[in-house]
């Protein structure tokens, strides 16, 4: 599953609004470091930019942020399918 599709799914799953930004923390394997994906809604669709530090957050700038670690402790982009499956399987 590609990154863009996963981000779109998370955007919908969390119900992020168009005036909000979505921040996803994840581990960049090729650079061997954590980074933050900042997702914004634009006329052309979702725009994703990667930054190395958490952007400055203000109370008047609405945002949502999500993070999840895999079994090895690295931050990953959560899979919405997995979140739903986990919820159902933990009956």
């Amino acid at each position: 599953m590609n990154t863009t599709f996963k981000i779109q799914q998370i955007w919908q799953y969390l119900g992020v609004q168009d005036d909000e930004i979505l921040i996803i923390r994840h581990y960049n394997k090729s650079d061997d470091k954590d980074e933050f994906l900042v997702v914004e809604s634009t006329q052309e669709g979702l725009k994703v930019s990667a930054v190395s530090t958490l952007p400055q957050l203000r109370a008047d700038q609405p945002f949502q942020m999500i993070q999840q670690r895999d079994s090895s402790g690295k931050f990953i982009i959560p899979s919405v399918t997995q979140l739903i499956n986990d919820k159902v399987s933990d009956y």
């Binding site: 969390l14 609004q17 909000e20 957050l57 203000r58 109370a59 008047d60 700038q61 609405p62 945002f63 949502q64 942020m65 999500i66 993070q67 999840q68 670690r69 895999d70 079994s71 402790g73 959560p78 997995q82 979140l83 986990d86 919820k87 159902v88 399987s89 933990d90 009956y91």
Partner: protein, 164 residues
């Protein structure tokens, strides 16, 4: 040799008023046996082998291997390993909503600095609960991640309150 079945089950205590007797249920779904609630129809009972029963925590999901009882009335769990779910920390800061949801499996804990309830507004208590969970993967790291996020949310919430 009886065929072993692998499935995830939760166990409960106190069948037929026998306090320590652990039991769970499975039902057939799409051709395979899966753990189910007591309310499910066409279910079969699962007891835990006495060799492993002392380690079982009630109402926690286990990955089990089962063998059928001789009378085919149910199954015996011969091995059981706790299923650990990854913790997801979702933070929302929007208008007057400042909160964090920590979810794993079907569990959810909420941090809300505006809440009057201690279970929702106390960072330390929530972090301690997360650290103690057997069914949360990387529980210590998730608790620390939660604290980091909660401090941000608390600061923004207080900032918003002082600007009102």
């Amino acid at each position: 040799m009886a065929q072993r079945i692998k499935t995830n089950i939760k166990f409960y205590k106190g069948l037929d008023n026998v306090a320590d007797k652990l039991y769970g249920f499975v039902a057939k779904s799409n051709g395979s046996w899966r753990g189910c609630r007591e309310t499910e129809s066409k279910k079969k009972i699962v007891f835990v082998d006495t060799a492993i029963s002392k380690d079982i925590i009630p109402n926690t999901l286990y990955s089990c291997s089962l063998v059928p009882m001789r009378n085919e009335g149910g199954f015996i769990a011969k091995s059981a390993t706790i299923v650990k779910f990854p913790g997801t920390i979702a933070t929302i800061c929007r208008n007057n909503v400042f909160l964090i949801r920590i979810t794993f499996g079907n569990k959810e804990y909420i941090y809300d600095p505006s809440s009057k309830e201690k279970r929702k507004n106390d960072i330390k208590s929530i972090a301690n609960i997360l650290r103690s969970r057997n069914d949360l993967e990387n529980a210590m790291s998730v608790a620390e991640d939660f604290i980091d996020n909660a401090c941000i949310v608390k600061r923004l919430y207080e900032q918003r309150q002082s600007n009102v």
